[in-house]
């Protein structure tokens, strides 16, 4: 039992699941995607990123990279939303799809990250 492993592991997986929660639904209908969930996804992803900092192993570096990708995608998604809403003044279908698909990209990165994490856990004997 390793406390740090539990906390960081749960955050990695939480990042993926919350991300999925936002992504799930009709991509063109923004009403099916909660802004709260996007907010939660961004925060949990940021926390997961910070937890991956400072791990000197090869795997640690790759995990950090996937996390950074997810952060970039999610923040881009939120930025697009804010831009469409306040600058253009209309969240049309194009913007809605962009918001959701950007979070979909982040989801992929998160899945990769979790797979790596699980693989590493299986590989280690103790």
């Amino acid at each position: 039992m390793n406390m740090h492993k539990i906390i960081s592991g749960s955050f990695f997986i939480l990042a993926m699941t919350v991300n999925f929660g936002f992504f799930y639904g009709e991509p063109t209908v923004l009403e099916q995607h909660s802004s709260y969930e996007l907010f939660a996804a961004i925060i949990v992803n940021l926390i997961a990123t910070v937890l991956k900092l400072g791990d000197r192993t090869q795997l640690g570096a790759v995990l950090l990279a996937t996390s950074i990708v997810a952060d970039i995608q999610l923040i881009a998604s939120a930025t697009v939303w804010a831009f469409a809403m306040y600058v253009i003044g209309d969240v049309n279908i194009e913007a809605a799809t962009a918001i959701v698909s950007l979070s979909g990209g982040a989801l992929l990165a998160n899945i990769v990250s979790v797979i790596l994490f699980v693989g590493d856990t299986l590989k280690s004997k103790r």
Binding site: Y36, I47, V50, L51, L53, G54, A78, A82, M85
Partner: protein, 550 residues
């Protein structure tokens, strides 16, 4: 940037980042959830963007007022909480970053990194000097920037600070590190292609030996210049195939031997180290009985030199430390001491040598001896360079400073390899030969000639190499003609010519030159610059060689 530094920083920043993210997230979420009232009294919900914008400027305590509408009381309560909450987060984060900058481990890693980069950026050949002290400082003073660059390692942080304060130009990178540690030697660039060698002149033979072994293993190609003070150590280094073992006591022993038996060879050697090329009366070692005070390494070395020269001597086992403890003074010369001097035969001796490890004792021994026998020749060992003035003022005939001898020998080996070679070759000749050479040099180039080393290649002798490439025969004598009038002689002497591994001492003037020949030339500034003109300028060379140009 070094990997290690990045990791140290990232690891240390983990908690502050977490704190900032969490405080921001909670504050933003609270603002979004709380219902606000707009200017018309209608309820509204802040969007995430509004909340993010507000918290961003609130947390960093910039403060722009309330946006997008004036807050109601629920919102103000939450904001009051959030202000303290986020400010604590920020302060913690900033504090962590400041303490990170002051962190010793990070500082060390950063210093090491900049040292490594400095060394990597050196593009000239360089020597790694281990230990910074009086000897190595004088080597740095003379060597730095001319042909070589230097890098220093020292265990002691104060020494490195001293080095940095010296402000050498070009910069001499220094770093705190144990010289016997492989890792430090690697950081100092021992693997680099342009690393010319390692200089290790520690007092402790064991340390030198360890360094020599490690350096030899790390890089076979470099020069390893080490100090050895004992015979066993010397043998050990020889068996390791190190060619440049410097033994200051051995040098002193040889100088005394040559000074007595072959003063002109001695003179040539001293001239190479900056003495003028004239045998003054007070320089000449007297013949007769010698008294040596002190039976340490120096005393033994002198003894050896005297033995070889076949001189009668007595050696007094005089331990400076024991003397100071017993008599509680560093002034030599009470009744017992005078009695002892007389017993040793100071009145009929020709020379007295004070070779103890205490400068004041050395001085007072010689003073007493001089009182008893005003004609006696005096020699002293000087241990610390600080007392130079006292020694000069006290009119001692010869002063040996072990540190200076070592520094001179190392410098001449590195910067003036041909002069070093010349001394070795000259020692094989007899004194009569040396006397003729000295007279010849005096006649041609004066009492205080300089010597220059040059290699005949593109960079140093452009015109000459052009002609040599065509297969022309040009002899040394051809180059000795004046460029003002080719029937006149230039005042230069070719003392030594090195071609590959062959060494020609006083080369024959009819000898033809080849590209790559190394020459040791004795001359003065003016004549040498004429010589440089001739070998570099096509027209000057044509004139000197006797081609008619008009």
């Amino acid at each position: 940037m070094n990997e290690q530094i990045v990791w140290i920083v990232l690891k240390r920043l983990r908690t502050p980042f977490l704190v900032i993210i969490i405080t921001f997230a909670i504050s933003i979420l609270g603002l979004v959830l709380i219902q606000g009232t707009d200017n018309n009294g209608n309820p509204y919900q802040m969007t995430f963007f509004d909340a993010f914008y507000f918290v961003t400027y609130m947390a960093s305590t910039i403060g722009f007022g309330e946006a997008p509408y004036t807050f109601n009381y629920e919102q103000r309560m939450w904001v009051s909480f959030s202000i303290y909450f986020t400010v604590i987060g920020w302060f913690y984060g900033i504090g962590a970053i400041v303490s990170l900058i002051q962190d010793e481990a990070l500082k060390k890693a950063l210093n090491r990194n900049s040292f490594r980069n400095h060394v990597r950026n050196i593009n000239k050949p360089f020597y790694i000097i281990l230990g910074y002290n009086g000897i190595t400082k004088s080597i740095i003073d003379r060597l730095n920037g001319h042909n070589y660059r230097l890098v220093v390692l020292d265990k002691d942080e104060e020494k490195i600070d001293e080095l940095i304060l010296e402000n050498f130009y070009p910069n001499v990178p220094g770093f705190v590190g144990d010289a016997t540690n492989q890792k430090m030697l690697k950081i100092a660039g021992i693997h680099q292609k342009n690393c010319a060698g390692v200089i290790s002149l520690f007092e402790d033979d064991m340390v030198n030996s360890k360094i020599a072994t490690i350096s030899k293993l790390l890089n076979k190609k470099i020069d390893i210049i080490v100090k050895a003070t004992s015979k066993a150590q010397l043998e050990h280094f020889k068996s390791m195939d190190l060619k440049h073992v410097k033994n200051p006591f051995d040098i002193i022993s040889k100088r005394i031997y040559y000074g007595i038996t072959a003063p002109y060879i001695w003179l040539l050697e001293m001239w190479m180290y900056g003495h003028i090329l004239k045998l003054k009366k007070r320089d000449q070692f007297p013949l007769g009985k010698y008294i040596i005070y002190g039976k340490g390494r120096m005393g033994k070395a002198i003894q050896e030199g005297l033995q070889k020269a076949g001189i009668e001597y007595v050696i007094e086992d005089f331990d400076s430390q024991r003397y100071i403890e017993e008599k509680n003074t560093t002034i030599f010369g009470d009744d017992d001491d005078i009695q002892r001097l007389l017993e040793l035969g100071v009145k009929e001796s020709a020379c007295i040598i004070a070779a103890t490890q205490n400068d004041l004792l050395n001085l007072t021994i010689l003073n007493k001896a001089k009182q008893l026998n005003p004609k006696i020749f005096t020699m002293a060992r000087e241990n610390t360079l600080d007392d130079l003035n006292i020694f000069q003022a006290s009119k001692i005939n010869k002063i040996y400073i072990v540190e200076k001898i070592l520094a001179d020998a190392t410098y001449s080996y590195i910067a003036r390899p041909l002069a070093d070679l010349f001394i070795q070759e000259a020692r094989k000749k007899d004194d009569e030969w040396a006397r003729i050479i000295v007279h010849m040099l005096n006649n041609i180039t004066g009492m205080n000639p300089m010597y220059f080393e040059t290699v005949l290649n593109d960079a140093n002798a452009y015109a000459l190499t052009l002609r040599l490439e065509k297969g022309e025969n040009i002899s040394l004598a051809d180059l000795r003609r004046s460029r003002a009038d080719r029937n006149e002689m230039l005042h230069v002497v070719f003392l030594l010519l090195k071609r590959g591994n062959e060494i020609y001492l006083m080369p024959d003037a009819r000898m033809n030159l080849q590209i790559g020949d190394e020459l040791l030339i004795v001359s003065d500034e003016e004549n040498y610059s004429d010589f440089e003109y001739i070998v570099n300028n096509i027209y000057e060379l044509e004139y000197v060689l006797g081609y008619t140009t008009s």
